[in-house]
């Protein structure tokens, strides 16, 4: 079992940077670290399971993206900070779903962090409870390909 609050658990989870090609935008490669904390993480898996994102060879350019999906609790917040700090620059964080956007359905809970942006800087907030896997792909593409 991971030790609570040491930063080892989430940093370990996020250490593995995966590279995906975006099927709808074949030229786009995204370097993603997936920090799945609750039900929203299933939609990240679904984006891969449904073939919207496919594993690819790393490209030389491009920022690493930390995707925080699910409920951040105050107990887990140090792990999220550690995962963010473990990412090399350049980097960006995507808050995926209501829980990490604001606390979501648990915004009034004593134990839930009221948005992951209380502990790390967030570049894109994706709405949904959970958001669709397509919304993840759209947000990643928008982040990687400047409009």
């Amino acid at each position: 079992m991971p030790t609570r609050g040491t930063g080892d658990y989430a940093a370990g989870m996020a250490r593995e940077q995966r590279v995906y090609a975006v099927v709808s935008h074949p030229e786009v490669r995204v370097h993603v670290r997936d920090l799945g904390l609750a039900c929203c993480a299933v939609e990240f898996a679904s984006a891969i399971g449904r073939g919207l994102l496919v594993p690819a060879e790393p490209s030389t350019s491009g920022a690493a993206v930390l995707v925080v999906s699910g409920t951040v609790t105050d107990a887990l917040a140090p792990e999220v900070i550690a995962a963010w700090e473990a990412l090399p620059e350049p980097k960006a964080a995507v808050s995926f779903g209501a829980c990490s956007n604001s606390g979501g359905p648990y915004w009034d809970s004593y134990s839930v962090t009221k948005g992951v942006d209380r502990v790390i800087p967030v570049s894109t907030y994706v709405p949904g409870c959970p958001p669709r896997p397509e919304a993840l792909v759209d947000a990643l593409v928008a982040l990687v390909v400047p409009a």
């Binding site: 919207l52 956007n101 907030y125």
Partner: protein, 111 residues
């Protein structure tokens, strides 16, 4: 991109003309996502015994950063002013950007 089912709960569109500012959605939303401001105006009609009081909607905001897409607001609205649309692609660069007012909610349009 794969096709989004037409009944997908992507966003809730507002028909502001149908909204009577009755506040039912505001009260029933389990997450307190909806904020409404309105004022009353008196309308005097010729021959009426007394003026009527009519609520006028000033602002209607849904905070998608909080919303859990349960649909209770859509269900409780007695005037069909809220309805689901499959639109799902509206991330925001800051948390405030997930608060949509009347104009943006009307843009989602009829499904």
């Amino acid at each position: 991109m794969s096709e989004i089912p037409h009944q997908a709960r992507g966003a809730i569109a507002l028909d502001a003309a149908a909204c009577t500012s009755c506040m039912l959605c505001v009260k029933e939303c389990p997450d307190w996502c909806i904020h409404i401001e309105s004022h009353n105006e008196e309308v005097s009609e010729p021959g009426a015994r007394r003026p009527r009081s009519v609520a006028v909607l000033d602002s209607f905001t849904i905070d998608w950063g909080l919303c859990m897409y349960c649909g209770i607001c859509v269900e409780v609205c007695p005037f069909d002013a809220l309805h689901w649309v499959p639109e799902h692609d509206y991330p925001a660069p800051d948390a405030q950007g997930l608060r949509h007012g009347i104009a943006r909610l009307e843009e989602f349009g009829p499904s």
